[in-house]
Symmetry: C2
Subunit: 313 residues, 2 copies
């Protein structure tokens, strides 16, 4: 599979990052997780987003892990890597590495430490990454998750970047979890009759909105839930109505209800420990806290009741 | 001056970071600014905090700049460096470097990308920095600025760290700009009859609260305004009542009123350009945006009216 033949559609799980007992990235477990998801039909994988604790790792750790995944046989063209950092030089280093490694593209937040920054500063930050990497292979998916990053992407920012860099900006991952905002984004940027420089893919990261957005024409998603239920999420991206769609939404809501009782990433990792039998999956990096033994036992009971079916979920 | 003879009191300006035209750190201008502030009576300097755009620079840039300041003659024992990073390994690298370079101490945020994290995760993050640096010379000033970092420090976090690491945790910089919270912090942690493991310095970063906090017993500040008016801020830290104190507060409010019309760091840097005649001071790193020429011209008029007096301000 080469980069150019990978369709930009379908499910790209926002990968959890497995850790060793010393809290380093467990690259063999990471690669095994990717292989399992690709085998389940995912188009690609997205390491180092929010669910993946991406900004908790240093630039060197992130580069070594991407190199390790590729060395382990994950096709670079099926990796959409989040290269988001507080410092622009770090985002540039990671983005340059991703392009040179042949990755499909990068998922990129604006610098996320300072808050209340002007739109022009956000535009300048993206422009500087693009200008410094200076490689026409670069593809960027903008990343909107203001409740975590603290820095929202306005329509003005998106439209300006799209106008300046129409070949580079290919989409936006909207994990803001505000359905009205997502619909407005689709209306503004996913015109049914695409005009030059005005149409990009809008992918919601909030699973309950997948079918609503599929009805607007979205064809893909970067999803955290897809770490555990990739087939379920793939169906929700592909179909927005009918009995199967209704059943899938109910099952997704059932899954999210379990998750909501815990810290999200810790709970996802607990589920992975249960499903793989590898207790190491429970490790998280500070400032997150792993599930306690009591929480883990409760989660086991809940997952037994959920009865995950690898053929359907 | 050696580290051990520097009193932990007085004013430590939250340094602005001058940049070259290529937006790299201008180390000669940085050192000159430090020398000017120390000559004006500041106890020390605090590079790479929020006002200093600290997290906008890579680990390598931050290390090179601290080494550069020391090489230029700034005594390491008068440097309290913010080593705050989203990734713990980066915070550990910077903190270890600061200790080994002989810096007075470090100002440290919890990892600031993820939000809504549990207190225990914040405690673990600080503990891991302390355990990995493993150097009894390490002094940490906790850093509370939740409106920017998105991660507040609770009394439980502070009390637990103080109990576990009584020799390492020496203070807290409270830049939350919530006076009631600052007073509560002083009441909880600056007991008039210090008990073992229960008393640290509380320094507010919000200049209008300096005199109120001085009345509670604070003896120092890490202040952004002190980049421009170090003597004014030193007097506000040392005296909380009387005609001079009232005049100083009025003058500080006058200064803050000018500043409030612009982006804070860009405006501070514009003031530095005006005061030093070095136009390079106007540069900021994205996502910040430098003052426009029109804004700069307006700021020049305002600063002329403010009539800064280096002997008094």
């Amino acid at each position: 599979v080469t980069e150019s033949t990978v369709p930009y559609s379908g499910v790209w799980p926002a990968l959890l990052t497995p850790l060793t007992a010393s809290l380093d990235i467990d690259i063999p477990a990471f690669a095994a997780h990717c292989k399992s998801l690709l085998a389940a039909g995912c188009t690609g994988v997205t390491p180092f987003g929010t669910t993946g604790e991406g900004p908790s790792f240093s630039v060197a750790e992130r580069i070594a892990a991407i190199d390790g995944l590729i060395a382990a046989g994950i096709p670079a063209g099926r990796i959409l890597v989040s290269t988001s950092c507080a410092a622009l030089p770090d985002a540039i280093t990671l983005t340059r590495h991703a392009v040179q490694a042949g990755c499909f593209g990068v998922l990129l937040l604006p610098p996320f430490f300072l808050k209340g920054v002007p739109d022009q500063g956000i535009i300048n930050a993206y422009a500087q990454v693009i200008d410094k990497v200076a490689d026409e292979r670069l593809r960027i998916v903008l990343y909107h998750i203001p409740q975590i990053s603290g820095v929202a992407l306005s329509h003005h920012v998106i439209a300006t970047l799209l106008k300046w860099f129409p070949k580079t900006i290919i989409g936006i991952k909207d994990s803001g979890c505000q359905r009205e905002w997502s619909l407005g984004l689709a209306k503004a940027f996913m015109t049914p009759e695409p005009k030059a420089n005005s149409c990009i893919q809008v992918w919601v990261g909030n699973e309950p909105d997948l079918q609503v957005m599929a009805a607007q024409g979205t064809v893909g998603a970067v999803s955290g839930v897809a770490n555990v239920t990739p087939k379920l999420i793939a169906r929700m991206v592909a179909a927005h109505s009918g009995p199967t769609a209704e059943r899938d939404m109910a099952r997704t809501q059932e899954f999210l209800a379990i998750l909501s009782g815990y810290g999200m990433t810790a709970a996802f990792k607990g589920m992975m420990a249960i499903l793989t039998g590898n207790a190491g999956w429970r490790h998280v990096r500070a400032p997150l806290v792993a599930l306690s033994d009591a929480e883990f036992a409760q989660l086991e009971t809940q997952m037994k009741a959920f009865a995950l079916d690898p053929a359907k979920d």
